[in-house]
Symmetry: C2
Subunit: 203 residues, 2 copies
């Protein structure tokens, strides 16, 4: 059985990176479909692990070759998903997990109606803002901007298949693991299995 | 949040009783919605645990009072689901698990479109027949009859939401646990959650 394509989105401060890091410690049936970007690597970021770092020319030639499934331009840099990143995993029977923002997720849904979309929510606006403040890395102005951005993003959550509230990290990771496992069992994804029973029957 | 209603069906020999017994050892978020019957208890069967044992008159008066969600008559006895068995669990926030055959499951689906239906499959016809033989409790004629019955029942599997192949017991139990957990996270079951974010926003 081929792997499935999962999209995970969440506003900043909802802990999606932490959830995914913990998830990959607990399962080997899923892999991270690394995004591509033209922005420069930040300290500690490894090419092919955190992002595929491409030049603008490389990125644009991949767009022209239809090798980019979805992309967006943000602050003068491209961010997108390479077809190969997804296919490499799926063909090996692994689920591909794409961590992308809401607009990209909607594009993936249009291209792959069978993709499964998961949205991670904070327990409340109040807790989201507290978490952003507790990071201690951003100005109050930036925090308010991010919180406003989160409000816009949550509007898209109604188009997702699953909602996970990241209240306790362990529970959120187990929720996502359950989604990965259950989604593969859906009847709508297993017509071949039922057909096999019918054919074996005729044999 | 109220509990959800899950229906579990499987042909004889697919191990649904064993799966459910193991499941209830591993979770306390779900409970077994005990069926009612007019047949006599067999050795070891406890009233209220394995079945609610009712007289024919009791059963028929419950039908008249619309206290029976679905029922069937088989070999001169009624078998059915009491509304109370389901509601007692759901109102306490527990998922109610109904173990019923395919026709009953289709009736539940009509009455409760939001119910989640899980069908348990054997790994193959061959293994199903081997398992029936290994029980050593039934004649070859009875085994062929049960196998034929299984073939009819599997025709209904296409109307279920999830398919679980009971190849290894532990994996099948974990599959069912994942379905219980993931199904609660489906966006379509969590409109209130998203509305709460919208309202908190306006407040």
């Amino acid at each position: 059985m081929k792997g499935l394509l999962f999209v995970v989105s969440a506003p900043a401060g909802c802990g999606k990176d932490t959830i995914l890091n913990e998830l990959f410690k607990k399962t080997d049936t899923a892999g991270y479909a690394v995004s591509a970007t033209t922005r420069a690597p930040r300290g500690g970021e490894i090419n092919g692990v955190h992002y595929h770092f491409l030049t603008r020319e490389e990125f644009e030639s991949k767009i022209a070759e239809k090798e980019v499934l979805e992309y967006t331009e943000y602050c003068g840099n491209y961010y997108g998903t390479l077809r190969r990143s997804v296919n490499d995993l799926i063909e090996r029977g692994k689920d591909a997990i794409l961590k992308i923002e809401v607009e990209g997720a909607m594009n993936i849904r249009r291209m792959f109606p069978e993709a499964c979309l998961v949205f991670i929510l904070p327990p409340s606006w109040e807790i989201l803002e507290k978490r952003l403040r507790d990071r201690g890395t951003e100005t109050e102005e930036k925090i308010i901007e991010r919180s406003k951005q989160a409000r816009t993003e949550i509007e898209f959550a109604k188009n997702y298949d699953y909602l996970i509230v990241n209240d306790k990290l362990d529970a959120a990771v187990d929720d996502l693991l359950a989604v990965l496992r259950a989604e593969k069992l859906r009847r709508s994804r297993n017509d071949e299995l039922l057909n096999a029973f019918g054919e074996e029957d005729k044999a």
